[in-house]
C-alpha cells in the first residue's frame, strides 16, 4: 500500500488552507483529494462579492477567493492534488480509500485532515406539509444550477428562510428574470446581513415576511403555489392570517449540517446535536492523528475564518507528524 505523511480530504477553502499550512510547517508529502474536477469547493458557485474582507482586505467574489488559494496550492510542489477523486472509506488506522477515474486507490496516511464541508438542510427537515411536487430545491442547489450549469430553476419563486444564502439567491434569481414573490422568515428578524436585505431584496422590490411560515406546498407534478401564515411569538400559526402565493419554485434556505459520514464510520465521536466531531480543540477529532476543519467541523459564516482555523489544523497535523503527538 502507498504511504503518505498527510492526506487531506476535500479541496475547498478548508482543505486548501490546511494543506498549505501543513506544508509551510514542514510536511513534505501531502495528498489533497478533491471529488470535483476543480479545487475551490462551494466557493466556485458563490459568484457574488463579500469574501476576503478580513483575510485579504479586499472584497472578492467566491471564485476570486478560491483562486488565490488554488495558486498557493499549485505553488507548493509538496502538495499533490488528486481531482475527480472521491473518498469512500477512512479507517481508525488512517487508511484512506478513494475512487478516481479508472481506479480504486488505497493509501496509508500518518495523519489525516478531514475538510469535507457541510450539506444543506432540506424541506423534509423543517418540515413543510403539502404535496411533493418537482420545483422544491435547497437554495444552494439552485445556486449551483444557475451559476455553474446555466439552468434557471423556474419562473416564479418563493424563498423559505432569510439567511444570507436565501437573500443572495433572491437577488440572483431576480437578475435572471425570475419573479421572486416573497422571502418567508419564521423568526422576527433576518439572520442575513443588513447589506443583503437592502441590496438583494429592497433593490428588487422583493417582500420579506418575518414571523411567517409556509403552511403548505401545492401542486401535483410541479409546484403550483404555497400557503403562507403569520405565526405568533411561540411560532404557532395565527388563525385567519393565511394567504396564498402562486409560484412554480420554492427555494429552501434553512441551514447547514456538517458532513462527517466518513469520520463517523471510522469510529470518531460525533455530536448528535451539531453533527460535528467531538473534540477538545477547534481542529481535532477523537482519533489521534485525524484532524477536522472548515464547515465539516462547524458551520461558519465567513470563509475568512474557515481559512484561519483550517491553518490551525494544518499546523496541528504537522506538529503531530513531527512529534508523534500533539
Amino acid at each position: 500500500m502507498k504511504k503518505r505523511d498527510l492526506v487531506v480530504v476535500g479541496g475547498g477553502p478548508a482543505g486548501m488552507a490546511a494543506a498549505r499550512a501543513a506544508r509551510d510547517a514542514g510536511v513534505r508529502d501531502i495528498l489533497l483529494i478533491e471529488r470535483d474536477s476543480h479545487l475551490g469547493g462551494i466557493l466556485n458557485q458563490c459568484i457574488h462579492p463579500g469574501f476576503g474582507l478580513h483575510r485579504f482586505k479586499a472584497e472578492l467574489t467566491g471564485p476570486e477567493y478560491a483562486d488565490r488559494f488554488v495558486k498557493m496550492t499549485a505553488a507548493a510542489p509538496e502538495i499533490e492534488v488528486s481531482l475527480r477523486s472521491f473518498v469512500v472509506k477512512l479507517t481508525p488506522e488512517k487508511r484512506v480509500s478513494y475512487l478516481r477515474p479508472g481506479a480504486l486507490e488505497e493509501v496509508e496516511a500518518r495523519a489525516v485532515i478531514m475538510a469535507t464541508g457541510c450539506r444543506e438542510r432540506t424541506r423534509e427537515m423543517i418540515p413543510i406539509p403539502g404535496t411533493r411536487p418537482a420545483g422544491v430545491y435547497p437554495a444552494g442547489l439552485a445556486q449551483k444550477m444557475i451559476n455553474m450549469e446555466g439552468w434557471i430553476p423556474g419562473r416564479e419563486a418563493v424563498i423559505v428562510g432569510s439567511g444570507d444564502i436565501g437573500l443572495i439567491m433572491a437577488r440572483r434569481m431576480a437578475l435572471e428574470g425570475v419573479k421572486v414573490k416573497a422571502v418567508i422568515e419564521i423568526q422576527d428578524k433576518t439572520r442575513g446581513l443588513v447589506r443583503n436585505v437592502v441590496q438583494c431584496l429592497e433593490d428588487f422590490g422583493i417582500p420579506l415576511y418575518m414571523r411567517h411560515k409556509v403552511a403548505r406546498i401545492y401542486g401535483r407534478d410541479r409546484v403550483e403555489g404555497v400557503d403562507v401564515v403569520r405565526v405568533d411569538d411561540n411560532l404557532a400559526a395565527v388563525p385567519g392570517s393565511e394567504f396564498s402565493l402562486a409560484c412554480d419554485t420554492v427555494l429552501v434556505s434553512v441551514g447547514l449540517i456538517p458532513e462527517n459520514e466518513l469520520l463517523e464510520a471510522a469510529g470518531a465521536a460525533i455530536d448528535p446535536r451539531t453533527n460535528g466531531p467531538v473534540s477538545a480543540e477547534l481542529k481535532g477529532t477523537s482519533i489521534p492523528g485525524v484532524f477536522a476543519c472548515g464547515n465539516s467541523f462547524k458551520v461558519y459564516d465567513l470563509v475568512d475564518w474557515v481559512s484561519r482555523d483550517s491553518e490551525l489544523a494544518g499546523k496541528a497535523a504537522a506538529a503531530y507528524l513531527a512529534g508523534g503527538a500533539r
Binding site: I47, P49, T61, G62, D67, V194
Partner: protein, 127 residues
C-alpha cells in the same frame, strides 16, 4: 421631503432619516453614528451604484458557465440592461481571472471581467 433608509456600511445598520431637496438631491442626513452613514445616504440617493456579479455562457471551455463581475460599480438603474447584455455573451476562448470578457461594457466605462481562470474543455483539440 423626508425619507428613511438603512445604512449598510457596517452590521450596525443605522436607521437614517434623509431630508431631500428634491428627488435627486440630499440636503441633510440624521440618525447616523459615523461619517460613513452620511456619505452612504448621499451616494445612495444621488447616484446609487452596484457591482454586478453574474455568469456568462461558455463554449468549448472546461465549465459551462464563467463567473464575471463589473470592474467597478455601475448605476443601479442599469442592472437589468446589463443582465440583458450579459445573456448575449458567449465566451469560447480560455481566460485568466481578471481578464475582460467585454470592454467598456454598455458604454459605462467599466469592463466585465472573469472572476476565475477557465481552460479549454478536456476533449477540446486546443488541449
Amino acid at each position: 421631503m423626508k425619507k428613511t433608509m438603512t445604512c449598510i456600511e457596517c452590521p450596525r445598520g443605522c436607521a437614517l432619516e434623509v431630508t431631500l431637496e428634491n428627488e435627486w438631491k440630499v440636503s441633510a442626513v440624521a440618525g447616523h453614528q459615523c461619517p460613513r452613514g452620511e456619505k452612504y445616504a448621499r451616494q445612495e440617493i444621488e447616484a446609487p451604484t452596484r457591482t454586478l456579479t453574474t455568469a456568462v455562457l461558455t463554449r468549448g471551455l472546461e465549465l459551462r458557465m464563467l463567473p464575471v463581475r463589473t470592474s467597478a460599480p455601475i448605476p443601479k438603474g442599469r442592472l437589468m440592461d446589463a443582465m440583458a447584455a450579459v445573456k448575449k455573451i458567449v465566451v469560447s476562448s480560455p481566460v485568466e481571472a481578471g481578464q475582460a470578457v467585454a470592454e467598456n461594457f454598455l458604454g459605462l466605462g467599466v469592463d466585465l471581467v472573469a472572476t476565475r481562470p477557465l481552460g479549454p474543455a478536456p476533449e477540446s483539440p486546443a488541449n
